[in-house]
Symmetry: C2
Amino acid sequence: MPLARIAHGGGVAYAEVGAGGYTLLAPGRETPWSDGQREKRGFVPASSARLLAPVSPRTVVGMAHNTGPADRELPPQAFLKPVTTISAPGRPIAVPEGAGLVEAEAELAVVIGHTARRLTMADALSHVLGFTVANDVTSRDLQRSDPLWFAAKGHDGWTPLGPWLVTPAELDHQGLEVDALEIRLSVDGVPRPPANASMLARSITECLVYVTGVLTLHPGDVVLTGAPGGGAPIRPGCRVIASVVGIGDLENPVVGADCVLAGEDEESVA
Amino acid sequence: MPLARIAHGGGVAYAEVGAGGYTLLAPGRETPWSDGQREKRGFVPASSARLLAPVSPRTVVGMAHNTGPADRELPPQAFLKPVTTISAPGRPIAVPEGAGLVEAEAELAVVIGHTARRLTMADALSHVLGFTVANDVTSRDLQRSDPLWFAAKGHDGWTPLGPWLVTPAELDHQGLEVDALEIRLSVDGVPRPPANASMLARSITECLVYVTGVLTLHPGDVVLTGAPGGGAPIRPGCRVIASVVGIGDLENPVVGADCVLAGEDEESVA
């Protein structure tokens, strides 16, 4: 079953996603990192819960130029996004004045389950808890004046994440290979040409080996693996859906900078 | 009194720094964010405690090209460092093979006390809890092949921070202005020419206004304000001291990549 993080009457909890709602995991075991049997504690109907970002990472890394064979000729390159960019399914993406052309990017996101340092091709995937969908919101105009991409990718709420985690075992069960997952992006119902994780210049495993050669990733940390389908322009009033077939759909409305309710982000970051 | 975060027989605690040791702040009040009177709970002699990084941020931002009048002609530019770079006074800086020319940079670091979003020149400093010293370790060689500075600044332990926090009130009490603090750097006892926060292209306040125009900073988050004195090369076997006069000295040895004891970083990051 997919694993979700939800807000409900009783607070915030991890839960298994099932028909019609969520089966809560035992309190005090709010993070699903353990490999052990997960104790169940009651059921919350879908109508009484709201999905949050499935994890609250301390480190969010993205892969740059990771699409197509030409990118393989370049050295690998990663970038950091602030944790304040992490946002929930359904939560508005705010586009501030002056951000210029802003694009959505649909990406397969890896969630770390075990502390990961200097991983090898052989052991990298055993450090993965699961996979989810990310929207790596990026201002193309700011990327030109901001060569380190701090403002171009770093605005609050610019990494919607969700709708939930799917474990490697669950993908296996569905007969899916993580390096061949279909990645989709649509804005206002208009789909971009579908893309596939197989179009990434470097595989999921290679990304993890590169990133953990520089820094240690901890449980709950997130690696965005790149946007094989490229970006799609978004502006206030749009609705954008990033999807990975076999994982789920991540839908967010787009608003102007002053339309986000205060306090909304505290909850999904905390 | 300066505020330190220490490891001692009873665990990890915030404490006031005094003659011969540390006066612990009340348990359950481990973070010194509150403006209220701080309750005292016992004394730990300096010999029984070890300094940790004074905060455990969720976001670490640095200012790029922030030295001298010419940099003022450029748009402001910030970058992110992973939280896994945060390290304690005395903890080794590990230089991995392949990192090429690695330099230490002594910087004044701002620690946020109150959630800070879109600060103005008038209110920015009221969101500051205090100031500390940072060593923004950077590989000059990697900066060339890694234009987003992920590997060039992102290796584990490459942001030693400390030795403690000094509040704005404490600086006032010493008759010091934050924008005129002297910043020093020495390697193996050889000092670099002294620099001063007044040499920064943009003031502390301007840095905070720029950064919080992009993202929200939370209590404990850290902004490195730039290295007015430039860098100094370091290699395994060196000892490097970054200092801000009126705050303190941050000393770290430099080692090869495989000389760091496992688990050391868990403590200062956690």
